[in-house]
Assembly symmetry: C2
């Protein structure tokens, strides 16, 4: 498989973690979001929205959207599982991921920050406040959700790391990069600390990717 990737893309970071957890080898192909390579004709043919990651299967089929790719990988290679076995726990794990991928990340990703600066003429400070607002309110809600999870074990959903951690860690990377105070989020901090040094997570870190600058 080929992963159309960018070191600082948090959606691509999720995929790298999941592929590492499952031990699925992939070819890394960089698509530079900062120079706008994701808006090139070649990449728009892969994903009309111009987002990364995209996953090219061996037969040339292209998949988009990090969660759809994760579900696909879970279906074609169920072990080790990255979703819980019970239907209710699985729904809660997916909801945890969507609280990140569908409520926080789309509000502050690069294309939105650019739009705020260029079209709405917002200052750098205003764009930073926007980022901090959606990240802080999102993480505060996620902390409450995490505290109420009924199946917490060593990890958020039991005894193995899974999609919840694969989505949380890139979010934490972003929060640190933008100096968001996460000190009050004890449950999320514990979840982060439990996985951050595992090889699947370490090897997915932005700074160790081939295209890191």
């Amino acid at each position: 498989m080929k992963l159309y990737d960018y070191w600082r893309s948090s959606a691509a970071y999720r995929l790298r973690i999941v592929m590492n957890l499952k031990g699925i080898a992939y070819e890394h192909i960089s698509v530079n979001l900062v120079t706008g390579e994701n808006r090139s004709e070649a990449h728009l043919a892969r994903n009309p929205l111009g987002l990364v990651p995209a996953l090219e299967l061996d037969d040339g089929t292209l998949l988009t959207q990090s969660m759809a790719m994760c579900e696909y990988l879970e279906e074609i290679q169920p072990a080790p599982a990255v979703l819980p076995g019970d239907a209710i726990a699985r729904a809660q794990a997916r909801a945890f991921c969507f609280d990140i991928s569908g409520e926080m990340h789309p509000l502050y990703n690069l294309r939105v920050r650019k739009h705020l600066a260029e079209e709405l003429k917002q200052s750098a400070e205003s764009v930073d406040r926007w980022y901090a607002h959606w990240t802080s309110t999102g993480l505060a809600a996620l902390e409450q959700t995490a505290q109420r999870l009924p199946n917490r074990g060593a990890f958020l959903f039991g005894d193995t790391p899974g999609l919840a951690e694969a989505f949380l860690v890139p979010q934490y990377y972003n929060a640190n990069r933008f100096n968001i105070d996460v000190s009050g989020f004890t449950c999320l901090n514990a979840a982060f600390d439990t996985v951050k040094d595992l090889p699947a997570f370490k090897q997915a870190e932005p700074e160790v990717q081939p295209d890191a600058e």
Copy 2:
């Protein structure tokens, strides 16, 4: 099951369609987004993000996030299926849904429009332009995605309506409500026309909900 619902919530509208398609009865409980009932202590206890819909199972378990709930309903009641049978087609159907629920809807929902007006002091015209921008660019990309789908039949993913249509129709409802020009989206328009008069879709329409104003 109890659906914490609001007639004009497009995420709740998706759930209503899916529950109708599957023939799952539910009790409707209105949470008024305009008066801020979703920010009440009672609703924040159901969903710390203060969003609707939420689904309360018979044992009192609460599920959040429309896609997580749809996947749960598909797992506990597989027939009629709302996702395709093939893993690749299923990934493409999920990605189609996430292009709506994770890239378009979070950018323009009520809490973001309020934030733009109140915190960023944007005029009503600027908020409308924001809405139109993310809806139009999102639908244009989705049209290209739809045109390339390899398994289109009478519906987007074969011969039965499913999650792709359940996510598209509320998006079209919003686009019409805000006068977004969709005339160029031939494939999406065809997908919309094919389902809009089916009972599962008609009975989920905002205007026929008990809390419609």
